[in-house]
């Protein structure tokens, strides 16, 4: 089942065309990876999917993005609700400078849940889903900034689960983590796939090969090839994909 679909999507930063004619289907409960060298537009595309590009001056978007069949640019869209459903994990873990508990309940509170008992229940569930509950249940009032990088990134994912996100957009979520922490986060991503649709941007090809079901290869704002991950990595159709994967450039 298709969760997110883009139709002839173009994106301009001023006069610079950063994405051209992207046609993409992201399948539900699957992990889709975007790979390509930096500046190829993969992060720009990711940020189109929850309209985070709205905050950047001079961005122009043409074409369509459909979530569950509904266009999110042309129709009048409740952005608050859109961003709740389509959550985002950033490159650098960005917990708020608040307590661990306040970080998790920030989202639910923003969306109008104020009941203390419910909030505790939500916190427990969200932190359990990212396997942090046992470590942190007695430290909920400590500052989130004192956690390790890996724990911070897990907490950032937990924040999204607390508002019942449906899609998790991950922008190189492991790029600031060491290999062991990376492996643990990857494990978590695979686990989360059961309940969530995940789109992950990575310039680490091995990571894309390890975790994803589908892969899109981007070059200079174009999606050169898209398909099942094992196909892309074993039998790419396009010469440019093959060159990138075999390490000839990038």
């Amino acid at each position: 089942m298709v969760k997110i679909k883009t139709v002839n999507l173009n994106l301009f930063y001023g006069s610079f065309k950063a994405l051209s004619n992207i046609n993409l289907d992201v399948k539900k409960n699957q992990i889709t990876a975007f790979i390509g060298s930096s500046g190829c537009g993969k992060t720009s595309l990711l940020r189109c999917l929850n309209r985070m590009n709205d905050f950047i001056r001079g961005v122009k978007i043409e074409g369509e993005v459909l979530i569950d069949g509904k266009e999110i640019y042309k129709n009048v869209v409740d952005l608050t609700n859109l961003r709740r459903r389509i959550g985002m994990v950033f490159q650098r873990p960005n917990p708020f400078p608040l307590s661990i508990y306040d970080n998790v309940i920030y989202g639910p509170k923003v969306h109008g849940i104020n009941h203390q008992e419910n909030l505790m229940e939500i916190t427990k569930k969200a932190l359990s889903s990212v396997f942090l509950w046992r470590e942190l249940k007695n430290k909920l009032n400590d500052s989130a900034l004192d956690l390790s990088g890996e724990q911070q990134q897990r907490l950032c994912i937990a924040r999204l689960l607390a508002v019942h996100a449906e899609v998790l957009l991950m922008d190189e979520p492991c790029s600031t983590l060491d290999p062991i922490a990376t492996a643990k986060i990857e494990e978590l991503i695979m686990e989360l796939k059961k309940k969530y649709t995940i789109v992950i941007v990575s310039h680490n090809m091995q990571q894309a090969a390890r975790v994803s079901d589908y892969t899109g290869f981007f070059l200079l704002g174009e999606m050169v090839e898209f398909g099942k991950t094992e196909k892309i990595f074993t039998a790419p159709k396009d010469k440019r994909t093959e060159d990138y994967i075999t390490g000839k450039f990038g």
Binding site: T80, R83, G87, M88, R92, F96, V110
Partner: protein, 283 residues
């Protein structure tokens, strides 16, 4: 030869740099030399346990002035903090960059206007308005609070604004990506994150309010009595020193310097507090 010249320049700059610190040291020494004997001879009780300031009878109770100083400072903060912080929030989060670049220097310019001008405006325009709406003499705690509240705005705004602008973009993005509105982001994440910087701005503004003299002399009425309401006239510690030092001799003069010591210590404590808070903030 060249090297020699460099050395002379280096040394003379060093002297200039140290001379400013040295002057500060001399001021401190002078105030303490003049004021300390009074405190040592009488203890602090004579200053603090009397509401009567009447140098000709030998009573030096600074309580009326202390109440005057504190109530005006408090009033200035009630007005200045919400206004200043709101203004900083607007400039940091809601205004366009162009507008911010126009408004920020103008706000900083406010700090450069001589305090006598503020006092003059307070005396000519504000005092009559307050007299006719609230009664009383017009020159009052309320008038002074409003004037001082405006005078401390530049301090509070620029320090709070810097604190807000220094926050990493990722805080805002993280919050917006969770579906929070801009206002929810400001109150839920940005203000708590910048709170130490904002608090430092408030403390420095408070220091400015306590130390202000000229504007205060012009708008408080300067009567030496414990004020009974916010439309009563009052006198501050600083105004007391400025008004009486010209003719004070002997014990009277010493008592004024003792008042200066108390103010000095108070301001130093506030500044150290502000510096500690600024240093402690984490990003």
């Amino acid at each position: 030869m060249k090297n020699h010249q460099e050395k002379i320049i280096e040394k003379s700059i060093l002297i200039v740099a140290f001379s400013t610190v040295f002057i500060l040291f001399l001021i401190t020494l002078f105030i303490f030399k003049e004021g300390l004997p009074f405190i040592l001879n009488n203890g602090l009780t004579r200053l603090f346990f009397s509401t009567n300031w009447s140098p000709s009878d030998g009573s030096y109770g600074i309580i009326p002035m202390l109440i005057g100083s504190l109530s005006i400072t408090f009033g200035a903060l009630i007005l200045g903090v919400p206004l200043g912080v709101a203004c900083a929030i607007y400039l940091a989060e809601f205004s366009s960059k162009t507008l911010r670049n126009i408004l920020k220097p103008m706000i900083e310019l406010l700090a450069g206007i001589p305090s006598v001008v503020y006092g003059f405006i307070g005396m000519i325009f504000l005092a009559p308005v307050i007299r006719s709406y609230f009664g009383g003499p017009g020159l009052s705690i309320l008038t002074a609070s409003i004037v001082l509240g405006i005078m401390i705005l530049p301090t509070i705004i620029s320090i709070s604004l810097d604190a807000l602008l220094m926050l990493p973009r990722s805080y805002k993005e993280g919050s917006m990506a969770l579906g929070a509105t801009q206002w929810q982001t400001v109150t839920g994440v940005l203000l708590p994150a910048a709170r130490s910087g904002i608090l430092a701005g408030v403390i420095l503004g408070m220091g400015r309010a306590i130390g202000e003299t000229m504007a205060v002399i012009m708008v408080t009425g300067n009567s030496v009595k414990v004020p009974s309401s916010f439309i009563d006239s009052t006198r501050t510690l600083t105004a007391n020193i400025a008004l009486e030092m010209g003719y004070a001799i002997g014990e009277h003069r010493q008592a004024l310097f003792a008042t200066a010591i108390i103010l000095f210590v108070f301001i130093i404590i506030l500044n150290i507090l502000a510096m500690k808070i600024i240093k402690k903030r984490r990003i």
